[in-house]
Symmetry: C2
Subunit: 110 residues, 2 copies
Amino acid sequence: MNRKEKNIYETKAKILKALAHPTRLWMTEQLVNGELCVCKFVAEINADFSTISKHLTILKEAGIVESEKRGKQVFYSLKVPCVLNFMTCIEAVIKSQAKVHARLIQQIED
Amino acid sequence: MNRKEKNIYETKAKILKALAHPTRLWMTEQLVNGELCVCKFVAEINADFSTISKHLTILKEAGIVESEKRGKQVFYSLKVPCVLNFMTCIEAVIKSQAKVHARLIQQIED
DNA sequence: AACTTATTTGGTTATTTTACCAAATAAACG
DNA sequence: CGTTTATTTGGTAAAATAACCAAATAAGTT
């Protein structure tokens, strides 16, 4: 891995890192049907609103979402919706793991 | 976001987190054409071999790769290859960001 | 203009992650 | 069997992340 490659992978990792948090991942999925106001997230997530705002900022800086202020509300929307395609694959990983665990349990019981 | 949903998103985020590191992302991509020995990564990454081993362990525990010991070498391979599909989308995010930055630079220069 | 509401920003602390070194393990080889 | 080679494990210090509270900003309302 040379210097140039390292830079590329640091950039890519930053984007994945933005998604790699339960709250941020959930928020991202909530945007599947279009924009949502920060207030909507505040209402549905059990965390300080400053925490929620910071999570949204991280998604925005990663280039995953964008925001627009209208009146005193700020609306966030998906900028690059393909990130939602990750989910199918992540679920495949979980299922594959489940199989391994099931096998292990089976062996313990034998 | 209720308790059940929270659990699901914590599990999903854990998998993304495993990928969200430049070295681990690079390693994962290197496995596209089949298994590779730990020694191969050690030869190509400028980091302590214990660090590399730990990165591989993280990918393994996430269920993304699996390993097999043959002789004194350990070979890692992709267990759920669909994770490679992420890359196209990540690159789309980067390109979309690049456009924003280009526009900003343009505006500064005007 | 003062007041309320929505959101962001700054600061602090606790937790997690990362990297390195040293030591342990495990297989192959003389 | 002692040695070399490949990899993992344990420990530790530094850096990054996350959560909360308080304060600032910004828009709309009275």
